[in-house]
């Protein structure tokens, strides 16, 4: 007889959990007991956040031919919006631009970039993924190439609180890892935005890519067609009922694809921005589990099956 071993005879010590009524009820009750407080805490955190959203794409274009207006480089695109702050906003106050209907995740768009080119000088010619925004007409490589960089957002905001110009800090709005490793410190923009069709912002050719934080933020493509991106931070508290006036240079063309633009001022909390969904979800699931626990309790009492 071959030697006995627990492994070969499939007799390894094992734990065999069974879903007994006690375990089922306890599990549901436990989840409920855990989720309801989390939900309440998240809701509370979300309520602490003060968020001002102002859509300006329609109001900032006085004419009917919106596309023509925006494409004309000679029109004055300055536009002023005024908001009243309902509640005290503690710094830092994040300034976002919110775009709707812009598919940054479109297949044509999302691959139209050259990550090697962004980091290495010697890789400037690697523009094959970037067509039609890879090379200029005389075959010089565009740096940074591709639709993503080309379509860089170029509205600008000047913020006044109660008439006083307030600094919007545009430093450190991009991820550190991107600035340090992904975008080269010795790569300077060249041949950028020189084509027939202007996609968006131009870049200062004397600043290296690693310092072009707006570009870095923009190139972190958004997951969903409605997204916001960080524009900058106001490092000053704003009191309730203060008047916030923003002078917008309305340059960016969202009109050709029927998108919309908005300006967002928001404080932050531990769950990020204003977000009631997560709290409601926790409360719903917690409540569902509690009622399931009750339901099973009743079921087990009504129709008892004695386990062996």
């Amino acid at each position: 007889m071959p030697a006995y071993s627990k492994f070969t005879q499939q007799e390894l010590p094992a734990c065999k959990p069974l879903l007994t009524p006690e375990i089922v009820i306890a599990a549901f009750a436990l989840i409920g007991a855990l989720f309801v407080p989390i939900g309440l805490a998240s809701l509370h955190a979300s309520r602490q956040v003060v968020e001002l959203v102002h859509r300006y794409d329609a109001s900032c274009v006085p004419v009917d031919d919106k596309v023509g207006f925006i494409q004309n480089s000679r029109t004055d695109k300055t536009c002023t919006v005024t908001m009243t702050v309902p509640k005290y906003m503690k710094s830092p106050i994040h300034v976002y631009y919110l775009i709707d209907g812009f598919y940054q995740n479109h297949r044509r768009y999302v691959r139209s970039r050259s990550d090697k080119q962004l980091r290495y000088k010697s890789a400037a010619h690697l523009t094959s993924d970037c067509v039609p925004e890879g090379d200029t007409a005389d075959h010089a490589p565009i740096v940074p190439c591709g639709l993503v960089a080309w379509s860089l957002f170029n509205d600008t905001y000047t913020v006044r609180v109660n008439g006083v110009v307030t600094q919007v800090n545009k430093k450190d709005i991009a991820w550190k890892s991107d600035k340090n490793n992904k975008f080269g410190k010795n790569i300077y923009p060249s041949n950028f935005q020189k084509g027939r069709l202007i996609g968006g912002a131009t870049l200062n050719e004397s600043i290296p890519l690693s310092e072009q934080e707006d570009l870095i933020v923009w190139m972190r493509t958004a997951a969903l067609p409605t997204f916001r991106k960080l524009y900058g931070r106001i490092e000053k508290d704003i009191n309730a009922n203060d008047n916030v006036t923003v002078v917008i240079q309305n340059n960016y063309n969202t009109y050709s694809f029927g998108g919309s633009k908005a300006l967002v001022l928001s404080t932050a909390s531990w769950i990020g921005g204003k977000n009631n969904f997560i709290g409601i979800a926790y409360l719903t699931i917690g409540g569902l589990c509690l009622s399931l626990a009750m339901g099973f309790l009743v079921l087990y009492m009504v129709k008892r099956r004695y386990v062996s």
Binding site: K16, N105, H106, F257, L292
Partner: protein
Amino acid sequence: PGPFRPSRRDQPDPSASERELHEGGEYRAVAVGEPSPEFAGNAVRTAKYSALTFLPRNLFEQFRRLSYVYFLAITVLNQLPQVAVFGRGASVLPLAFVLFVTAVKDAYEDIRRHRSDRRENNRLAAVLAPQTAGEYLPKKWKHIRVGDVVRVASNETLPADMVLLATSDPTGLAHVQTVNLDGETNLKTRYAKQETQLSFSHDGHVAGMLHCERPNRNIYGFQANLEIDGKRVSLGPSNIVLRGCELKNTTWAIGVVVYAGKETKVMLNNSGPPSKRSRLETQLNRETVILSIMLIGMCITASVLAGIWLLNHQRELEFTQFFREKDYTTGKNYNYYGIGMQIFVTFLMAVIVYQVIIPISLYISMELVRLGQAYFMGADNDLYDESSRSRFQCRALNINEDLGQIKYVFSDKTGTLTENKMEFMCASIHGVDYSSGKPACGSSVVVDDLLWTPKMAVRTDPQLLKLLNNDSSNEEAKLVLEFFLALAACNTIVPLVLDTRDPKQKLIDYQGESPDEQALAYAAASYGIVLVERTSGYVVIDVLGDRQRFDILGLHEFDSDRKRMSVIVGCPDKTVKLYVKGADSSMFGIINKSLELDNVRATEAHLHKYSSLGLRTLVVGMRELSQPEFEEWQLAYEKASTAVLGRGNLLRSIAANVECNIHILGASGIEDKLQDGVPEAIESLRQAGMKVWILTGDKQETAISIGYSCKLLTNDMTQIVINNNSKESCKRSLEEALARTKEHRVASSIGSPYPVLASESSGTVLALIVDGNSLVYILETELQEELFKVATECSVVLCCRVAPLQKAGIVALIKNRTDDMTLAIGDGANDVSMIQMADVGVGINGQEGGQAVMASDFSMGQFRFLVPLLLVHGHWNYQRMGYMILYNFYKNATFVLVLFWYVLYTSFTLTTAITEWSSLLYTVLYTSLPTIVVGILDKDLSKSTLLAYPKLYGSGQRNEKYNLNLFVLNMLEALWQSLVVFYIPYFAYRQSTIGMSSLGDLWALASVIVVNMQLAMDIIRWNWIIHVFVWGTIAATVICLFVIDSIWVLPGYGAIYHIMGQGLFWLLLLIIVVTAMVPHFAIKAFSEHFVPSDIQIGREIEKFEALNQVLSVDSYYQ
């Protein structure tokens, strides 16, 4: 097997092989001693590949699987620039991985084959150097050619198929062991022809021309003739020794090579077991079709929506930043071909992205799981046979799970239910029954002052012993002596003399191909008639202390038509006698009944008695041949023996001529003992809901008595016997039987509302006994249908006197008419066709050769192992495999649906937020290993529970673990979980700054955790290996995500570090996993408690009985 086994089993119709010879028109002409290069050399090659051909051939072999072609097509599709979804490298990876793993496995196996080939080819043999007189030089096996004369010493292996020319035995006798060929361990006798033997002993060499049939795979047939000194000598199967056999008990033997290398019979027979597909795998195809339809549906949806989107935005495309239709450097559209083409391209891309829904990796997982299961079945000590030291073997690797769904078991009797160790029990001699056997010490013979003792002693009847020893003048005693002489002489037994520790003692071991003959020879020896020596020309028999030589003038071998054998013996007193033994049916036809009616009647009565005791019976007869009769026979016999064509038929007709007017000597009863645990095993199988049918070559009475002794038949059963000799009467009795089963059903269903269960619930059970003669008229005619109806109504079916092909016919009867799984178990060559016909074939490593094992899917040592094999391993295998398949469908569907929902938010352009590497690793790494490990190791119930409650086996028979409902349920769960995984983060991150890569990482991680949690929830037994793999896989996924996001060239660089730093990420992960699992958990909790399956109750019993025992022990100590 029949009363005796034919010495040349499985021989095809001899006339067929002769016809083959004819039609081929050519013989192979071999000049003895002259190696001829025109035939295949002796080098063998079992390896499939060489270093050069490995790559193309292996790839070709692999791509014969349809799933790989599908895989390849997807990969090729992805290489088209317009459709490329994944990067080139990434898309090739999974296919390359799979091909690589398989290729490594194949290469490893092939290297082992190469090594064994090399070892085999470089072995040395002593070969006669040409142009020398009798000088044998060592030569490598691979250099041996047809025509070479080879000298083989004792215990050496034969390098090729050779015709024996001479041996160390003066009469030209040689013994070989054919264990490598057919698994039989007993020695077989082969002869060199007297002519060559003489020629060799005179001149030291043999010259001649040999004509033999062309190479074929019949191990038991050979026809040739040899022209030597102008004479033509015929050669038969007893003159050839085959490659792979070992020479035994013969100092040397010399032979001429006739077939070499790949043309040898062993190589021609070297084909693997037939490939079968398991039931689950066949059912899986249906689900694959459903999934394909889902796949196509998703692809059409995505591409049509993409078309609609393009149509709505057609005019905006030029200035839309994220589309940018035109390339201004060329002025043409860039990568845009109009809406129709765009829809088509999107469709193709969708196929690439969603193809994972058809889990290709499942096929590889299934193979690995089966390999693991086979390992554990082989390692199981409960399937280890102590006596033959053999383990359980999985010969076919792809039907493990079928073992859990068997409904019908077809069993051979001899050697399967019984041990096939025959023991002589009683004899009826001249109408007197001697059956009061007493254990005896056996008798010994004195030869050259040494004591020779037969190896086994049988129980002897004192009265018979007294009769033999005392009054030898008595007429009755003479008949008794004749009877035992017939037993000792009329056989093909070879006595081997073995040394014992005591130098004065020797042991006689009777070696032969038929255990019945061995039993009879030992019986004769125990009564003092000891067979001492056998050569091709004579036998020496010690008759009650007096050594006598009997010349064997002729021998008519057993064949299945005559069902008897005979020898013509020249006795010491110069008379010539014919001894015949055979089955009673064949013997009573040739008996001279007119002379001794009383004797015949009494013998018949005794035969009936013996067979109802379950004994195997043989009738022995003799006749004295007159001189003219003998001469006439001799002339015909010699002519026939040297004929090359139609020799078999000629010999048969001569035998039939001479075997007549037989004077009956008596009959013998031999016990064939039941194997250990057979009745209990059959009982367990029947409780498990299987129908056990016994198919035997034995007589009806013997079959019935075996049926009783193994508890298959009981006294409260109603027996229906069908035993007829014509089609009409068969039809009549079948109709009667059908009427009776209906009656029976009506009678028993009065108390029971379920007619199907009637035969089990009511007291009386029907048993059907069918005879082989009737089956001739029933099988393959329109009566089959009725037999099927009757047989399925009966819970026990016994078929007796069935031929091998009829066995297969009966299996086919059930297999073709029902969906139930059939299993055939047997040990002999006559079971091969049945084993191959059944869904699952099991071979017993028994006394009979290895042919059944060679043809089988599984082989083991004992019949009773069938119970743990089916009830435990079969149940586990089915359970595990069924779950694994469903789980694989579910997990891939979940992932694909998560990808699909995202497409709705990318303007239908099939972007995936999850990185391409993660999408590819999902099936290969993130979710594959735990399911394989669970498929190998998880057990729903312990072995002892499964054996204690055979009814639990029903879960497999009812397809409880794999069916369409479960599939649909799994798909609904996949739908729910994918919605949860996708939409909770979607709503939480709507209108936020979330990037594609970050959200993709969350979706990937959440899907992996959810599907692994689903698996974790369904695992029944958590041992440390399962813990390691389940949690380890989740950890490996996290590590992979970190690694992928640490590659700066990918757009997702740093994403996971960033998102994991947020509290929201962890909150989302928690709620996703919980929300996804709640329905599964609730359904599981509900169904396990309120609609428990048998297995669930078994699990509870297992857990709480153990607990109760602990409690009771505790209370005992308090």
